[in-house]
């Protein structure tokens, strides 16, 4: 998708909503459809951090782009845009997913929680507070995804969902090894892993 954006400045994309997306994709769609016909759109009602919003977006809009560019919630980050880094992790109905590999249109009626909804600056989520206390980041780019992923992961562990390193599928233990395996979908280029594990372990009551 980014290729289509080359003629437009990054700032232009961030500032715009539907209109920018239409302009930005015009070169690609020109050969497929008449110039005057905008690309197909879809309407989707998202409940984001408790607020319901109805968006009419280009069908190609991922949930990540809808959150960042239409709902103006820029906490979830675009790292790879291909499911390989976890920076875009959000919670949908409490379950962590990569928002870059799903369409906004597929989430009509869904409840979505982003890092902005997990806690507020004056009322931090325990994971947010623990990341600060344990110095669990350097540049911070992966952090919103790490924290949303950790929230989903701790819920999975609590529900007894096993992992690749669980010796007994029926009795996954809350260990640092489990946390490492379960958080492997979140890459940190700054390598803050050991402090990330400490913060999550503290909140999850896990011996690091």
């Amino acid at each position: 998708m980014d290729e289509d954006f080359i003629p437009v400045s990054r700032r232009g994309i961030l500032a715009g909503g539907v209109a920018t997306a239409t302009i930005a994709t015009a070169p690609a769609s020109a050969q497929d459809s008449p110039q005057d016909r905008p690309p197909p759109s879809a309407t989707t009602r998202l409940k984001v951090n408790g607020r319901t919003m109805t968006l009419t977006v280009d069908t190609r809009t991922t949930l990540l782009d809808a959150l960042r560019e239409h709902a103006h919630l820029t906490g979830a980050k675009k790292g790879c845009d291909h499911g390989q880094c976890g920076a875009c992790t959000v919670l949908v109905a409490g379950r962590r997913i990569n928002s870059c590999l799903t369409l906004a249109a597929m989430h009509d009626g869904d409840e979505i929680t982003t890092i902005e909804g997990l806690g507020r600056p004056d009322d931090l989520h325990p994971l947010q507070a623990a990341f600060v206390a344990h110095d669990s980041y350097q540049c911070g780019y992966c952090t919103p995804g790490q924290i949303c992923s950790a929230a989903g992961m701790l819920a999975e562990l609590k529900a007894g969902v096993p992992s690749h390193v669980s010796a007994d599928l029926d009795d996954p233990r809350a260990t640092a090894d489990e946390v490492r395996e379960r958080m492997s979908g979140n890459i940190c280029r700054c390598g803050a892993y050991s402090n990330i594990i400490e913060a999550i372990s503290e909140v999850g009551g896990i011996k690091a």
Binding site: N98, L103, L169, S184, G185
Partner: protein, 316 residues
Amino acid sequence: MKPFTYERVATPAEAAAAALKNPKARFIAGGTNLLDLMKLEIEVPPHLIDINRLGLDKIKETDQGGLRIGALVRNTDLAADRRVRKDYAVLSRALLSGASGQLRNKATTAGNLLQRTRCPYFYDPTMPCNKRAPGSGCSALQGFNRNLAILGTSDQCIATHPSDMAVAMRLLDATVETVHADGRTRAIPIASFHRLPGTTPHIETDLAPGELITAVVLPPPLGGTHIYRKVRDRASYAFALVSVAAVLQRDGTGRAAFGGLAHKPWRVEAAEARMAQGPKAVADAVLAGARTTPQNAFKTVLAERTLAAVFEQARA
């Protein structure tokens, strides 16, 4: 990404009708493979049929004593299902070794079976690839092919099927249930579901255009010790170089299927007759027809050693 129209359907019949109306349409389930490929314009469907709300997200016991797994059951939920953990642990293990927690929460049973190869040239639209652009040639034959296939290959394509789950499904002799766009239903044994590349590497399964997978059915449990062993370049969040799914019985009999070696999960029933003779005898029979390149010749050794490790783990 190319523009496309999008439609939500509520029943398998509606999905089939939509597919009949739009022959070039694709179903979208989790979207974790399809959207990845659409962003690279390797997949360019003009229309998407969203099948997430078909109600095919349940796991039910069959009259035969097996399980019917809805096509839309998420990989996490399948791996965590109590019955699967207890009676089909090899399937839980295979699922849990794949992708990441986030991806497994989205990925579906049918989508996982239908995920496309990870051959680096398939992913690079600037390079010839018979699978992506039929007749353009195969860049991998003379290129970077360290992680490509050694069994069942052709001179047109040496790609592997990247799924872990599919290897366990093959081991368990699962059946894929489908509904055609015209409403006819059928059941396809997993052994004949995925194809070898031959001269048509772009055709990967037995599915007809517009044919919807509704469920995957497991036969009654096999008992025994269930093991899935995956060897990869890093410990997590990576595709297999080689993997082995196995069910081993106390009397020395058993089954073994391999991932990372071929265009489909690889299982040689005749080789399983040698189970009692140990891993070397089985591996020799499985790997007899292997065609390797200097880069991927290590896979024959690795496959045998992985199977040996599986035998050892079962004895422990």
